[in-house]
């Protein structure tokens, strides 16, 4: 009834939102979920001139359920290759996931 899946998580700069969404789409994932996030890492680059004294976070966190680990790794590799030399970011995968209900999976 339910289906095993991998969950890929990518945390990176908000600026890259649309570009990463495109990579995910093109990799054939059925969808993704994105939330605004703050954070600290080794680079900690704030990529916009937007006031840091304001109240908004400048990272985004993507979560993508993929039917298998390979697709997750493929997306992560593509994102890292295109962006992680120059932008802040981290990606990780969580393997044991079961999709209970979805409109397309």
């Amino acid at each position: 009834m339910t289906q095993k899946a991998s969950k890929l998580v990518i945390v990176t700069e908000k600026l890259l939102l649309k570009k990463i969404a495109k990579i995910i789409d093109e990799a054939g994932a059925t969808g993704y979920t994105v939330v605004d996030a703050g954070g600290k890492g080794s680079r900690n680059v704030r990529s916009s001139g937007q006031p840091s004294v304001g109240d908004t976070y400048s990272n985004v966190k993507f979560e993508v359920l993929t039917p298998n680990r390979d697709m997750a790794v493929k997306i992560a590799d593509e994102v890292a290759a295109q962006f992680f030399d120059d932008y802040s970011g981290i990606s990780y995968v969580c393997d044991v996931m079961e999709v209970l209900h979805a409109h397309s999976f």
């Binding site: 600026l15 680059v45 704030r46 990529s47 001139g49 006031p51 840091s52 004294v53 030399d85």
Partner: protein, 378 residues
């Protein structure tokens, strides 16, 4: 001497102007770690309101005016924008501990224009009763876009040259064919923990990076930025519709007050970004202090030529100097981040926000107004 003392008197008087007061207030309040926050939604809206007002008043006033007068100042704006980038490329970039791409990006940001700084100048000009051409604010894009484009083009040329020489090195040493170990190249830090597939992408990318830079996408992105969009929308609405009623009941009366809030945010921001500036070479601080004043003076000089040749007003000369002096705070950073991704944003945003902008507002604007008044008096 007279000129100097007159200038100093005026300068000290300016320190009491609310515009400057709010800027300094913001710096202090952030320095003492106050919890005071201007919500981001308010900040964005204030910027929109100010640029809309500047655009609308420009558009309304342009309706009847002879736009050929604008030609020479617009050319000078464009020239200034490009010259600023080259100055940075051949001064800042040559200094020790300064990476070339970072320097080019910084120069691009200082060449680009801050709508907030321009709005502050317009207010001070009005307080001083100094006249200027209605279309002067429309000079903004003529300096902003060429500066950003030049910086991105220069940086791309530099990066692709670097890569060529790296590749030459690599094939010389023939490491590539001998080992699957990734090789750290150019400015990129080595990250051996990445899975091998990554390296393939990287090489692919490097291969394609050699091609020329496309300029139109950069221009398009600048025009689509929220600051220029609001300004141009205001101009268009001012020109094509009859927004006088809403302008006089809303945009105009709120202008000063909203500007005071924006100055507060910019002051807070300057303090907050100081830490970022500290992380990069000290030369950025030096550049960020001198450059705005120098850029403004260059533009002031060019503006004076237009003053003599085509009767460009002294108020207009001040505006040209201020937009040269200013560095972009809203649309510039994301454009550069996308256009020169390998440049460190802490370098250019830190320089501009923590030092460049306060210097342009607190020293630049009074300086150019003082100069113009002295020239008028003379």
């Amino acid at each position: 001497m007279d000129f100097l003392s007159g200038f100093l008197t005026r300068f000290l008087a300016q320190l009491q102007s609310p515009t400057l007061g709010f800027l300094i207030g913001g710096m202090v309040i952030a320095a003492v770690n106050s919890q005071l926050q201007i919500p981001d939604a308010i900040y964005k809206f204030v910027v929109f309101m100010l640029l809309m007002k500047v655009g609308l008043s420009g558009g309304i006033a342009i309706r009847g005016s002879n736009l050929t007068e604008m030609l020479l100042p617009a050319v000078f704006a464009l020239v200034t924008g490009i010259v600023i980038v080259f100055i940075g490329r051949y001064t800042l970039a040559k200094l020790p501990n300064v990476k070339t791409v970072d320097a080019i990006a910084t120069a691009g940001l200082f060449g680009a224009v801050s709508g907030s700084t321009m709005a502050a100048a317009l207010t001070l000009l009005e307080e001083q009763g100094m006249e200027y051409e209605a279309w002067a604010a429309a000079l903004y894009p003529f300096m902003d876009i060429p500066a950003l484009v030049s910086a991105i083009v220069l940086a791309s040329i530099y990066v692709s040259k670097q890569k060529h020489s790296d590749m030459a090195d690599e094939s010389l040493s023939k490491h590539e064919s001998l080992s699957k170990q990734p090789v750290a190249a150019g400015d990129y830090p080595s990250k051996p923990e990445y899975p091998t597939t990554r390296q393939e992408y990287l090489s692919q990318q490097r291969g394609s990076a050699n091609q020329g830079v496309e300029i139109w996408p950069i221009i398009k992105e600048s025009l689509q930025g929220s600051a220029l969009s609001a300004l141009l929308l205001g101009l268009a609405l001012g020109l094509l519709t009859r927004p006088e009623s809403v302008f006089q009941s809303f945009y105009e009366p709120l202008f000063r007050g909203l500007l005071s809030i924006l100055m507060l945010v910019m002051g807070m921001e300057a303090t907050a970004r100081l830490g970022e500036l500290r992380k990069v070479a000290q030369w950025y601080a030096v550049y960020a202090f001198i450059a705005p004043l120098l850029h403004g003076l260059i533009a002031f000089g060019l503006g004076m030529i237009a003053h003599v040749v085509t009767g460009f007003s002294l108020g207009g000369v001040v505006i040209l100097a201020v937009i040269a002096s200013s560095s972009s705070d809203i649309s510039g950073p994301p454009t550069l981040r996308a256009g020169i991704p390998s440049a460190n944003p802490s370098a250019y945003i830190g320089s501009s926000t923590a030092v460049g902008t306060p210097v342009a507002i607190a020293l630049g604007i009074p300086l150019y107004i003082g100069l113009a008044q002295a020239l008028m008096g003379g």
